[in-house]
Amino acid sequence: MASTTTTADVAPPGAHGADDNYLTHEKGIASWLLTLDHKRIGIMYFCCVISAFALGGFFALMIRTELWAPGRTIVDADTYNQLFTLHGAVMVFLVIVPGIPAALGNFVLPLHLGAKDVAFPKLNLMSWYMWITGALFLISSLIVSAADTGWTFYTPYSTTTPTAVIPALAGVFVLGFSSIFTGLNFIVTIHKMRAPGLTWFRLPLFVWGLYSTAIMQVLATPVLGITLLMLIVERAFGIGIFDPALGGDPVLFQHFFWFYSHPAVYIMVVPAFGVISEIIPVFSRKRLFGYSFIALSSVAIAILSFLVWGHHMFVSGQSVLAGSIFSAITFLIAIPTAIKVLNWISTMYKGSIHLDTPMLYALMFLWVFTIGGLTGLFLSTMSTDVHLHDTYFVVAHFHYVMMGGAITAFFGGLHYWWPKMWGRMYNETTGRWGALAVFIGLNLTFFPQFIMGSRGMPRRYYNYIPEFQPFHQASTIGAFILGMGFLVTTVSLIRSLLKKPDAPQNPWGANTLEWTIPSPPAYYNFDKIPHVVEGPYEYADWEYDDKIGGYVRKGHQEAT
């Protein structure tokens, strides 16, 4: 979209050497910890999110190992409760919610917009510090006595359990505000910082995804904040809002909690839609099919997400009428979601598909996310949900969506933007092997859980009847394959930092603005502010150049 006379062939100004980029511009730990540069903040988020992912993954493997056989395998029942609580809380609040928006989004958004930074760089850095604070609180509860309530903190158990619930709640409270400020920053950035000519319908769809996400972050997360605060007060003083022993209403907590947490699952997956919308057209070498439908379906999902929270409470004593309404609105969400999936498939139709690692993750996303989405319909139907509620079917469903949707898109986007982030190409072979292991592991872990769940295996149980053992063992083997896949991927990515080849400016032939500047970008992003004259998915102008291993604009010499 940057086919402008100003950007394509401008060399960096003389004041900055050829090696001067955002990674080398300043040195020392303080230049990172006090940076206001969105790219560096994005990288810092990325490092933290990946570390949290490793921690959450470790908890997951502990859980799966414990479930290898009925009865005690490696840990006792109380520890098991703490493990699944921490697994859920870490993965949701520390990994998936901030993963794509705060890590990839921070890095990419201003580049996509042709801007020098986000609207509020100091607020952006503060959000990162809030993430760190929240993470420390959450993890410190581990040392005291980790919460064992499940990541949902349902009352009355959360007001009575002797474990350290308050530090965990405080951690999530602070993390919520980190998320709010990132969302607020992004909304203002998208409204006010777009380059000239970059109209709303020329925005890359990743920006639309981040925008819809940010709306949900800003409108839903404050409600979580006050809910957790009330729960902290309830636990500390016993004010009787949620605790039934004091005349409070535990279902009220569920309403408040899901008013945030249902939009939150879209906070987790809508940015993933954005990533997929970037990857698929680039690697199909074809203009995206149905741009405005994909863009507006994200907004539709954002709006509908606020009206469906009651489908978590079909069996919590909610009236049948309310249940039916929530159920009907939940079905509606299938429409914008299907619009997206069908448009992505239409984009690939008759395209010239390149199976690089990002595209493999995108294809994996289509497969697993579709399974996750369709099984959601079973759960939004009241009659089947009564049977499936709180079983492994639910566990499998949301892991297909969260793991198969958000995490695969995160890794796809990570490979896609890796050359831009670090100026290094990752190894395509190990990248592909990693993706394959993730795909096999993911399905092997979670597909047996659908079967177990539909046969009545309740979620969160420490023990089970022997009939379920083969399914649990398949699931455990899958989890280890999944872990191996991520290990291979991580090692492959880290190795790429240590050795050549250097990445070209535009290895994929994409047409969004970040690929018109060197890899890694200069400290100040753009030499000249780009003037945008076309949409983001026009590839006719780019041709592959063997010498540099990347794409160049026809009729131009690569600047670097």
Binding site: H25, L36, D37, A115, K116, D117, V118, A119, F120, P121, L123, I180, L184, N185, I187, V188, T189, H191, K192, M193, P196, V218, L219, T221, P222, V223, G225, I226, T227, L229, M230, V233, E234, F237, G238, I239, G240, I241, L246, G247, G248, D249, L252, F256, Y523, Y524, N525, F526, D527, K528, I529, H531
Partner: protein, 275 residues
């Protein structure tokens, strides 16, 4: 873009070196904005979004208030007698006054009226301090009387002698507070005759004070944060930093302050004026 764009890229490194004319003329224009107007509009949009999150943040408490007042109207009627309407009214007035001076300060900043700006910010701060002093008085009365939230709720005799309660219901019958049988008998007679005396707290009475302390406490924290912001604005004002191209911070502070004021305007009738 303007001819400034080619040079407008150096700001990350501190922005005081070689600059484009717009940034050179506006020391408070951040490097990543092109014009003061763009910076102001981004800030304004940001603060409005923040206010939306604030409203949603308080909404949980208002929701809890609504639910429990509907379920237990007695508790709220009983509880509110212990709140002093006069003190609440004083606090409402000082906050409204401070909102006026806050708005006035924005105008002063735009017009570079440094003296008036400082005066208005100081009045705003004085009003906020008055509010907090009154709040402190109210809280300490309740602490002494044992009118505390949740499990710490243990009304002492002082509670029945609180002026606000006595004024509404008259003094309790003689001997009642000492637990003498004739006093209790008198009180019971009064109640059966429909007198509004309610000496025994209704069930879940503690919840009123739970909600009261949560709502006013959270609001009080916002007032304290607002005072911090106004002190910051005062420092900037004394340094004469504001003018027609840079008044955003005062504007944002005032918007935040109006919201804090507005929340109190809802809290006052909901908690103090239940009758």
């Amino acid at each position: 873009m303007t001819d400034a764009t080619a040079e407008a890229v150096h700001g990350h490194s501190g922005g005081h070196g070689h600059q484009d004319p717009i940034h050179a003329a506006n020391p408070f224009l951040a490097h990543h904005f092109d014009t003061p107007r763009q910076q102001f509009e981004a800030g304004k949009f940001g603060i409005w979004l923040f206010l939306v999150t604030e409203i949603l943040f308080f909404s949980g408490l208002f929701c809890a208030y609504t639910i429990y007042r509907t379920l237990d109207p007695d508790v709220f009627e009983w509880g509110h007698y212990f709140l002093d309407t006069k003190l609440g009214a004083v606090n409402t007035s000082v906050l409204i006054l401070s909102s006026l001076t806050a708005a006035w300060a924005v105008r002063n900043a735009q017009l570079q009226q440094h003296r008036a700006l400082i005066i208005n910010i100081v009045i705003t701060l004085l009003c906020a301090s008055t509010f907090m002093v009154v709040k402190y008085t109210e809280y300490s009365h309740k602490f002494h009387a044992g009118l505390l939230p949740g499990k710490y709720f243990q009304p002492t005799e002082e509670a029945w002698e609180m002026p606000s309660y006595e004024k509404k219901n008259g003094p309790p019958p003689e001997g009642f507070l000492d637990g003498k049988p004739e006093g209790i008998e008198k009180a019971e007679k009064l109640i059966t005759r429909g007198h509004p005396y309610k000496f025994d707290p209704p069930p879940h009475a503690a919840r009123f004070f739970g909600i009261y302390f949560c709502m006013t406490g959270l609001h009080g924290i916002h007032v304290l944060v607002g005072m911090g912001i106004w002190i910051w604005m005062l420092v900037k004002g004394v340094k004469r930093q504001f003018g027609p191209n840079y008044f955003g911070p005062v504007d944002y502070a005032a918007l935040y302050w109006h919201l804090v004021d507005l929340i109190w305007i809802y809290l006052f009738p909901l908690l103090y004026l239940i009758d």
